[in-house]
């Protein structure tokens, strides 16, 4: 991998962010809407002493971390779709740029954009809803990294599907995270799921991130168990996703789809 090529991919997407208002919408507008709606909901719950403060903190923490996961997965797929919509793929892949260099550049920009969303949501939650995530960040960071790694894995899978099946799969860019949401135990603990669904939830790294986050908020400690499970599952899925992507890419190359994508 050549750093100058990765830098060029980053530059390409930075230019796109500067020129395309949709990115500002994704990066700032939706996170604001999201946290404002959930913030009002927690205010409503807080007024009548309906819930313990710990649960409200869990809710807002979950909103912020799910926002990060969703943004990372979506922006990675949309970043790739932008190449496809602008028919730039042929120029890019007819150059010495490798797929791994392209993906690394895209991940760097996507991570920065997702962090902007995270910071915006965290600041609004702190200023308007008295929920300060920042003291919790050192405990959350391992789970945030796990979430980012799983979002990256999902981004690679969706990008592979788009390579192979072109824009027929583009809706997955926005909806893939949503498919995982019910089993990821974002807003409720794993034990609240029906028993038959718990094994399926357990094998999702997202579940361990949100379980770990709840444990940190409720008991103030770091859950090594959930971190290790999340990381182990992530590594397995990441390796599988890279393999899946290679198969999809080679299949697209073999079928001549790289030059026909629209």
């Amino acid at each position: 991998m050549k750093p100058y090529r990765i830098r060029a991919v980053i530059l390409r997407h930075v230019y796109e962010v500067r020129r395309n208002a949709n990115h500002i919408t994704y990066m700032v507008y939706w996170p604001i809407v999201n946290i404002v709606v959930w913030g009002f909901f927690t205010l409503y719950l807080r007024h009548g002493d309906r819930l313990e403060p710990g649960i409200l903190s869990c809710l807002l923490g979950a909103v912020i971390l799910w926002g990060l996961f969703n943004a990372f997965q979506r922006d990675m797929a949309v970043g790739f779709l932008e190449e496809l919509w602008s028919r730039n793929l042929v120029s890019l892949f007819a150059s010495p740029l490798s797929v791994s260099e392209y993906v690394t550049g895209l991940i760097s920009v996507t991570f920065a954009k997702a962090l902007v969303g995270l910071i915006v949501e965290s600041l609004i939650a702190w200023l308007f809803y008295h929920y300060n995530i920042f003291p919790m960040l050192p405990t959350f960071i391992p789970f945030i990294l796990n979430l980012a790694l799983f979002a990256l894995t999902m981004g690679i899978v969706v990008t592979g599907l788009i390579f192979r099946y072109t824009t027929k799969f583009q809706a997955m860019a926005w909806s893939f995270a949503g498919i995982l949401m019910p089993l990821s135990c974002v807003f409720y603990p794993l034990r609240s799921l029906p028993a038959f669904l718990r094994p399926a939830a357990w094998i999702l790294p997202t579940t361990h991130c949100f379980e770990g986050m709840r444990e940190a908020i409720e008991r103030g400690g770091f859950s090594g168990l959930h971190f290790r499970w999340g990381l182990g599952l992530n590594l397995i899925y990441f390796i599988a996703a890279v393999f899946f992507f290679r198969v999809m890419f080679e299949s697209a190359r073999s079928r001549g789809l790289l030059v026909k994508m629209e």
Partner: protein, 251 residues
């Protein structure tokens, strides 16, 4: 040989796009890859860029196997086609800066300005691609193709969207650049007059097969089966395009 294509075959189901094609291009030559629609020209170019995997055969560029040494090979060549595009919101300068970065061009700003001026679109540098005409975008593609001073240039119908005068200007620039740098060019076009003027040698394709190769006059004499004094590739083209697939195969 700078380009060695051996027994290249590409099929899509029952359809054979490229059928056992072999040819070589020596360094410094302008070779024309011509033929009617569906002859396999663009597929060959795309295989030579690693964008399409062949079913059989090999492509060796600069003496190296494309499948094994993709990155160092692609660093030394470039490509343009009017059918490729650029991100439309980015300006001409931004798009070319990105590609200059990919090719690790030294002094990219100066290089880009020089090429934009040479292709007559210096005034457009700060315009987004969405505001350019097809002809102007084609010229941006040509600037991209020369960014890395390629030793081999693959040009797929480079003047397709250009008016007569612009096409003439682009041909002159291509000729100048080829003479001054000794660039090897593989050129596809449907404009037979252009091919006649530009190319040292022709590789004529039909239905995925090579029909004939040679200088424009050699190809004219062989296909028309007449002792001509001057090349007449448009007549050759009409003759070949009018053939049935089984006639092409039998040749």
């Amino acid at each position: 040989m700078l380009v060695t294509v051996e027994r290249l075959t590409k099929t899509y189901g029952n359809f054979t796009a490229v059928d056992d094609v072999s040819f070589v291009v020596p360094a410094g030559e302008i070779a024309g890859l011509v033929g009617p629609n569906g002859a396999g020209k663009t597929t060959i170019i795309h295989i030579m860029l690693g964008l399409i995997a062949p079913n059989a055969g090999t492509v060796r560029l600069f003496g190296r196997d494309l499948e094994k040494d993709r990155e160092p090979i692609l660093q030394r060549l470039n490509f343009t086609s009017p059918y490729m595009a650029f991100p439309v919101r980015l300006t001409v300068l931004e798009n070319l800066t990105v590609f200059a970065g990919i090719y690790n061009v030294r002094h990219p700003a100066a290089k880009i300005i020089e090429l934009l001026e040479r292709f007559g679109i210096g005034r457009l540098k700060n315009k987004p691609i969405s505001r350019l005409s097809s002809g102007e975008t084609t010229r941006v593609g040509l600037c991209k193709a020369f960014l890395n001073d390629p030793e081999l240039l693959l040009l797929d119908e480079p003047t397709a969207y250009l008016d007569f005068q612009a096409a003439l200007q682009v041909r002159d620039v291509l000729r100048d650049l080829q003479r001054s740098r000794g660039t090897t060019i593989l050129y596809t076009s449907h404009n037979m007059h252009e091919v006649q003027r530009m190319c040292d040698r022709i590789i004529f394709l039909d239905h995925g097969k090579i029909i004939t190769t040679g200088t424009p006059i050699e190809v004219t004499r062989e296909i028309l089966n007449e002792d001509r004094d001057a090349p007449a590739l448009d007549e050759v083209f009409i003759r070949i395009a009018g053939r049935q697939p089984d006639e092409a195969v039998s040749n």
